[in-house]
């Protein structure tokens, strides 16, 4: 699926394939009993990002440009990085084993004590909002900054274009 997305020259079809890819990942998360992640992937990955990419696509030409020849340096960099990552996976503990480091650190505390501490059954919510609240605050700042970034990129051009037209009041709400 990912290879199909990469090879696709028609960007509209690529966006659609990308949405299907997200939906398949969401079902995979649902099968793995990760309800929160599945919900996020379905809503954000398959839903909103597809819509936003389609809106962006309506501003751009539909077909990708043919690349200018081949870039050998890029190929070497990609191969070396990939080989390093594959080599690193050999040192990872076996998938799903109970004595993996990830299950030894804070995870048992969260699973055992969060109901006593907070009194809500969804551990994901209590980790996200209470134990790891500063992380979530950072994420909200990231989203806010993204909104400001898009506003500066697209809103500013709109103001400049609108001002010669006969709408002087419209331009003021741009800040």
């Amino acid at each position: 699926m990912a290879v199909a997305v990469l090879r696709m020259r028609d960007l509209f079809a690529a966006v659609m394939l990308f949405a299907i890819y997200s939906l398949v990942s969401a079902s995979l998360f649902a099968v793995l009993d990760a309800g929160d992640v599945a919900l996020t992937e379905a809503a954000v990955g398959a839903g909103i990002s597809t819509i936003l990419m389609l809106v962006a696509l309506s501003l751009a030409p539909r077909h990708e440009d043919r690349g200018r020849g081949r870039n050998l340096t890029a190929l070497v960099v990609v191969l070396v990085t990939g080989a390093t990552l594959v080599y690193a996976t050999w040192d990872l503990p076996p998938f799903g084993a109970a004595d993996n480091p990830i299950h030894q650190h804070v995870a048992p505390y969260y699973l055992e004590e969060s109901y006593k501490d907070i009194g809500i059954p969804n551990v994901v919510a209590s980790v996200l909002a209470s134990y790891r609240s500063i992380d979530t605050l950072g994420e909200v700042y990231v989203i806010f900054t993204a909104g400001i970034g898009v506003m500066m990129l697209l809103g500013a051009t709109r103001k400049r274009r609108r001002q010669p037209a006969d709408e002087p009041i419209e331009g003021e709400e741009g800040e």
């Binding site: 309800g35 929160d36 599945a38 919900l39 996020t40 809503a43 954000v44 839903g47 909103i48 819509i51 936003l52 809106v55 962006a56 309506s58 501003l59 501490d117 907070i118 009194g119 809500i120 059954p121 969804n122 994901v124 919510a125 209590s126 996200l128 909002a129 209470s130 609240s133 500063i134 979530t136 605050l137 994420e139 909200v140 700042y141 989203i143 806010f144 993204a146 909104g147 898009v150 506003m151 697209l154 809103g155 051009t157 709109r158 274009r161 609108r162 709400e173």
Partner: protein, 150 residues
Amino acid sequence: MKTNGILRVVTRFLIPLIMLFALYIQFHGEYSPGGGFQAGVIFAAAWILFALVFGLDEALAVIPAGAQKVLASVGVMLYSTIGVLGVVLGGQFLEFTPLIPGSPQGAQQAGIVLVELGVGITVAAVVMLIYTLFADRLRVVAESNREEID
């Protein structure tokens, strides 16, 4: 798309349900999968659906661009205020326990609900804002193309 009767009727039927589902995800997130991020995105999706079927102007009449900008800041401010409130009431930054003295569990739950509400408001407003900006830009480009043809 404004003239398609089936689309209009089905959208009118669907949008309240989507918004209700978003609110359920938002406020039931402590008991079932969900939370501010997902709820915000789903709420914004309902609004975008409205904008797609009935046009951007109609949608902006419901939630103007200015309101989206204000709401995006309100969510971030709500989250940060809760964090600072923990400090003011004698705890650490983003510590919820001092919010309601004597009931650590209740305080935690209140803190989580408020914080998730802040997340939800910001996410919904930012997604709507990004859509508005793109759609508006599209209109400007279309207008300038028309002027060039004239």
